[in-house]
Structure formats: structure tokens, C-alpha cells
């Protein structure tokens, strides 16, 4: 359940950005790598729970999963690594370098201005 900590940190970052713009956050999009092992349902549930009573309450969160990538040593191809059977789809080699997994990033936020919807 590291999703609880991720949700808490996510809300903190969104609130900082919202304060900077003096606007209400409505939607957010984040991304994560495969090794972060983020479960969408668990994170969405935690996000909703932590958001309660804050300006983030009612926000929708979209989560993008970025595949783990490897670079094949013999042929240089960069490919999405299937950890249960990792090999280069081009030359079938199992000799590859694992590239750094994508970090947890808050990519974008959509804000509603105070005057939105009034004209």
C-alpha cells in the first residue's frame, strides 16, 4: 500500500501548484514506471480519500503506465521489457541493459478559474 504515500504526496504537489495559480484543480494526469508497481484502483481510492476536505476533493486522476525498457546489447534496439520473459524482440537476445524505470511524475493539471462557467 505505498499508494497511500504516493496519493498524499500527489495531493501536496497539486495543492502547491493550485496555490501558485489561485485556481481550483479539476483533473490531473500522472505517469509511472512499471517497477513502481502502482495499482490504479488502490491509488485512485487513496487519492479520493486523501483529497476529502481539500480543494482536490472530487478531482479525477488519470494514471499512465510507462513500460520498462531495455537496450539490446548485440543489436542496440530499445524495447519494452517483459519481465517474465525478457528478450529483444528483434534478435531474440537475452543480453540487454535495463534502462532506468520511469519515475512517478505529475504531468499535468487542469484548473478551473473562479470565473469559469459564468460567461
Amino acid at each position: 500500500m505505498h499508494e497511500a504515500t504516493v496519493a498524499q504526496s500527489l495531493i501536496e504537489v497539486i495543492l502547491q501548484e493550485a496555490r501558485k495559480r489561485n485556481a481550483r484543480p479539476v483533473r490531473a494526469k500522472m505517469s509511472c514506471g512499471e517497477l513502481n508497481r502502482i495499482n490504479d484502483d488502490v491509488l485512485s481510492f487513496a487519492f479520493e480519500a486523501v483529497a476529502q476536505g481539500t480543494p482536490c476533493e472530487g478531482m479525477t486522476l488519470r494514471i499512465e503506465h510507462k513500460p520498462l525498457q531495455g537496450r539490446c546489447k548485440p543489436c542496440g534496439r530499445v524495447f519494452a521489457v517483459d519481465v517474465s520473459n525478457p528478450h529483444c524482440p528483434g534478435c531474440r537476445s537475452e543480453e540487454f541493459e535495463l534502462l532506468p524505470d520511469a519515475p512517478l511524475v505529475l504531468d499535468e493539471i487542469e484548473f478551473e478559474r473562479a470565473d469559469d462557467g459564468e460567461g
Partner: protein
Amino acid sequence: MEKADVGRKILGANETCALKNKQFLARHGKRCFNMISSPGSGKTSLLVRTITDIGQSLRIGVIEGDLQTDIDAERIRATRAPAIQINTEGACHLSAKQVSQALEGLPIENLDLVIIENVGNLVCPSAFELGEDGKIVVLSVAEGDDKPVKYPGIFAKSKVLLVNKIDLLKGGMVDFDLDRVFADARRLNRDIEIFPVSAKTGEGMQKWYDWLTSQARSH
């Protein structure tokens, strides 16, 4: 409606704190390792045995993470090594901030090395940097040989894999294919050092001690 590209790391606050821990340790010239495993793999027993066997030549300070109790810190202190217990009160991993407070409680000048024993969990702790020089994953043979494939994150990120309780392999007490673990772990992480050990009998421990000593002295 206004869309803003933010591009901020969600765990940025933890990473900033981890960097401060790393700088603190570097300033004092100390190495630090973050030990991660499932509950019951024998992390504390490995540390107790290590400190008992080589604690005279390699002074190790320990930071213990558990949901509750200070049982583990007490076990370390019984070896006369300094240990600070962190109780996460439900959280499944340590954070860099907790470690920074614990570091203040250790007699850092009198140590060669700091080992953080994380909360028993193969998933969550691997996402949180604490300021360590490397992660050490422990897998006991009783847990099964499929763990590198099932929990790739921690095996991909670790410098060392300690395969513990190998005394149980004798007489077929457990079905565990050591070759499979070597192959699966190395497929994810070609540079990982793997030491099959038994904290109980001491088998295989010398190679682990040599590695740990070389790390502490390489500063």
C-alpha cells in the same frame, strides 16, 4: 479551464530529503545500505550474525524499521552495536525523513557503515530512496525461487542479493532452485552480486563479509 504542464516528481520531497541524508553520510565518509525483504527472511538474524562475526573490525550502526515494537533494535543492541528503532505505525516502508531523524541518533563518527533494515515488504520500500549507497535484497529459500520474477522491481534495483537459510536446502527441506534465482535475478540486473548464505550455520557468510568490508573501505 486551463491546462498546466507541471512535470514534477511526485516523490520529490522524499528524494530531496534522501539526497540530504546521502550528503550527510558522504560528509562523514560513511557508506549506507538499505536492506529490503519479505517479513521473516532473516534480515535481523543476518545483521546479528554479521556484527557478531566482524563487528570488531567493521563498526556497523543499524536503523531498524518496523510497524511496531523495538524487538529488532534490542536484538542488535545485544551485540553492543548501536541501533535506532523507527516505528512506522502501519506504514509499509521507511521514508527519508524518518531515516534522517534516526541518523542523528547514531554515533556516526564511531561507525564504518550504516545499515538500514527496512520494513518487511518486497514491494513498497523499493520505491522510496533513503539516501543509501545501494539496496540489499534478502530472499530466504523458504519463500520460493519465483520471487525475482514476481517482484522484479527490488531485484532490478539492488546491488546485492543475499539468498538466506540455505541450510534448509540440505536434505530437501524445501524445493528451491538456486540456479533459477541466479538466472532470473541476473536477467533483470546483470551486475547484482549474489551470495547464498545461512545466518544460522554461517555457511557462505565470509564472501558477504568481504564484500561489505570492501564497500566500507572504498570510501
